[in-house]
Amino acid sequence: MAVDTTETTEVEVFDLETTSVRELNQRLHDLATGAPGPRRYRILNPSGAHALACGLDVEIEVEIEGHVGYYCAGMNKRATVRVHGNASTGVAENLMSGRVIVEGNASQSAGATGRGGLLVVRGDASSRCGISMKGIDIVVGGSVGHMSAFMAQTGCLVVCGDAGEALGDSLYEARLYVSGSVASLGADCVEKDLREEHVTQLASLLDAAAIDADPREFRRYGSARELYNFKIDNAGAY
């Protein structure tokens, strides 16, 4: 829902030492139903709190000054949330649209099941990054852990560093781009040609993530589509 956020340099500040997570989220949710407010928000002393700035549905910018707990920016639409620290499990889970930027590292299941938007992790992301992703684009400046892009359906996972074991296991139609080494590929995940259209897509994603890397140095991985239908000959892979 559209909201008439005040187009000024005004910043509303929440200090989580004195404001509860509930108060913070309610305030940000109220913007989607017409409550007036500025475009920019700043959250101080997050101290690893969970479910910060989740369920937003408005074009605002949220800066979180420190480390966040589970599910930061979960299910967000349209907002831009930037974490100046590390993020715990499930950052930007089920992201619908908008952007989430983690300046530090992200724990497991970053961007899980995301359906749209862009997640940028400037550091490393742990295991299961992009698990069951459904349209989100994820750009990781560093490396990702094992089982990343497990059952990934659509969208792109870009890894500027290395990928852990079983990358893209049981992959559907998501595109995986890795610059560094891949410890191993999961079931039905294969390396594919990096064509010009992919270089263009990669360049666009890296640009959107403000990460300086040469798209031609990446390799592309995708589904072999051998497990899409049950075949007894593939029993060993099930």
């Binding site: 989220n25 499990t89 499930g90 889970e93 899980a112 698990i131 059952m151 359906q153 239908n229 007894i232």
Partner: protein
């Protein structure tokens, strides 16, 4: 040769290798893959049939049938949610996906449930407009697959059900074979059309009870603490699972026994994993009692609920409500002799049909074939569901009144006895005619 009477004397069928087993061995040898089917467990299991009510007599007063009030209302989600569900009857419609079921069938479930003031539930395919529009009270499932999951549907749902497992396949994920992945289903699930879709068995972003607590907290935050949060578990280690669900902050716990239905699961899973609904109900209720949370965290029981007798017995063992799935499909016409000829054409028979996975349902319920689905009238189907739910409620009231209860929730274990030693042990009620509860330590 079909029945015992038609068989020549002297032919003896093996108990171990009966014709069903022989047919399955032949099929497995021919096809080289496990049998996937719908419906629920077909084996004989201890169930509510093995319990009887002790009607009132001199020591208890009955209520006058049809005259003295026996209330049936139930409120689900009173622990934390700002807007608990207020239902008129203690029977709800369980989660069944669009994909597994046709759009008209989902609409009918919503229509029927709404007509009698109860809830229906989405499934592993997201929320359709049809079911939202026709369901006054709709529970939205959060499953491991997260197909179609979005915050808008979370907010327009009336409750959220975190599905950890289901009775037909505790520890297993959903399954939808390629011929049911239509254009619409594929779009809703962000999947290619025609693939054999297997859902994850674990949630993608939480892995244990501590994580679940945080996940529930996130769902509450996204919905501003308005919606009741259900946690659904397949009945296995029910004592521990109920404890952990309470600890994680559930408003409502749904326990689905192994008789619970499915649209597509391996037969070996359906028949060999989990515990029956009967013991699961008593374990869950006793666990809530032990925690001091009985009636504070509501208990919904499902898995083989077919009649008001089943409902009344589950309530007497401590449930707040029951949920129906397979019985609802049957109420809408599934397995009806009316379709015998059509069932025969696809190699089945009325009363035996369980190939929900195949998508060729002649009744138009478990299919994504437009032509088959068009055979099903959602208005008539909704009326049948409403009628069936009314009968379940009337039967439950009948039994409750006979036991002298002015509310169906006043039924209690003391109103029950068991017909078998097994049922007595599982339900923790005396064997009929005795004061013996097997397993109960009375030495102290």
């Amino acid at each position: 040769m079909g029945t015992q009477a038609e068989r020549p004397w002297g032919l003896r069928e093996s108990y171990l290798f009966d014709r069903t087993v022989i047919a399955e061995i032949h099929r497995a040898a021919r096809e080289g893959i496990y049998d996937v089917r719908g419906f629920g467990a077909k084996r004989r299991l201890p169930h509510f049939d093995d319990l009887l009510f002790l009607g009132a007599s001199i020591s208890r007063y009955p209520l006058e049938g049809y005259r003295e009030r026996c209330a049936t209302d139930v409120v689900l989600g009173t622990r934390f949610a700002r807007k608990p569900l207020e239902l008129k009857i203690p029977v709800t419609i369980s989660g069944m996906s669009f994909g597994a079921l046709s759009a008209p069938a989902k609409e009918a479930l919503g229509r029927g449930a709404s007509e009698v003031g109860t809830s229906t539930t989405t499934g592993d395919g997201g929320m359709t407009e049809e079911e939202r529009r026709h369901s006054k009270t709709l529970v939205y499932q959060l499953l491991p697959s997260r197909y179609g999951m979005n915050p808008d549907d979370l907010r327009r749902a009336d409750a959220i059900e975190v599905v950890v497992g289901q009775g037909a396949k505790p520890g297993g994920g959903g399954m939808l074979l390629g011929h049911k992945i239509s254009d619409r289903v594929a779009e809703m699930r962000d999947l290619p059309k025609g693939i054999d879709q297997r859902s994850a068995s674990r949630h993608p972003d939480w892995t244990g009870p501590d994580d679940l607590e945080i996940k529930i907290h996130e769902l509450r935050e996204i919905t501003d603490w308005e919606k009741p949060i259900f946690v659904k578990i397949g009945a296995t280690r029910t004592y521990y699972d109920v404890q952990l669900a309470v600890k994680a902050g559930a408003d409502v716990i749904v326990v689905d026994g192994m008789q619970g239905g499915t649209a597509a699961t391996q037969d070996v899973f359906i028949e060999h994993v989990g515990i029956p609904t009967l013991p699961a109900t008593r374990i869950a209720a006793d666990t809530l009692q032990e925690l001091g949370m009985h009636r504070k965290v509501q208990l919904v029981v499902s898995g083989g609920i077919r009649s008001g007798a089943d409902v009344a017995k589950a309530l007497a063992l401590g449930a707040d409500a029951c949920s129906i799935g397979t019985a609802a499909l049957i109420a809408m016409g599934d397995n009806s002799p009316e379709y015998e000829e059509a069932y025969r054409k696809i190699g089945s028979s009325a009363g035996f049909y369980d190939d929900y996975q195949a998508g060729r349902d002649p009744v138009g319920i478990s299919t994504q074939d437009d032509e088959l689905a068009a055979r099903f009238d959602p208005v008539l189907g909704g009326r049948k569901i409403a009628n069936f739910l009314r009968v379940l409620t009337l039967e439950t009231q009948t039994l409750a009144r006979a036991c002298g209860k002015s509310h169906v929730h006043n039924l209690e274990p003391e109103d029950l006895v068991a017909l078998t030693v097994e049922a007595a042990a599982m339900a923790r009620v005396p064997l009929a005619g005795t004061d013996w509860i097997p397993g109960k330590d009375d030495s102290s």
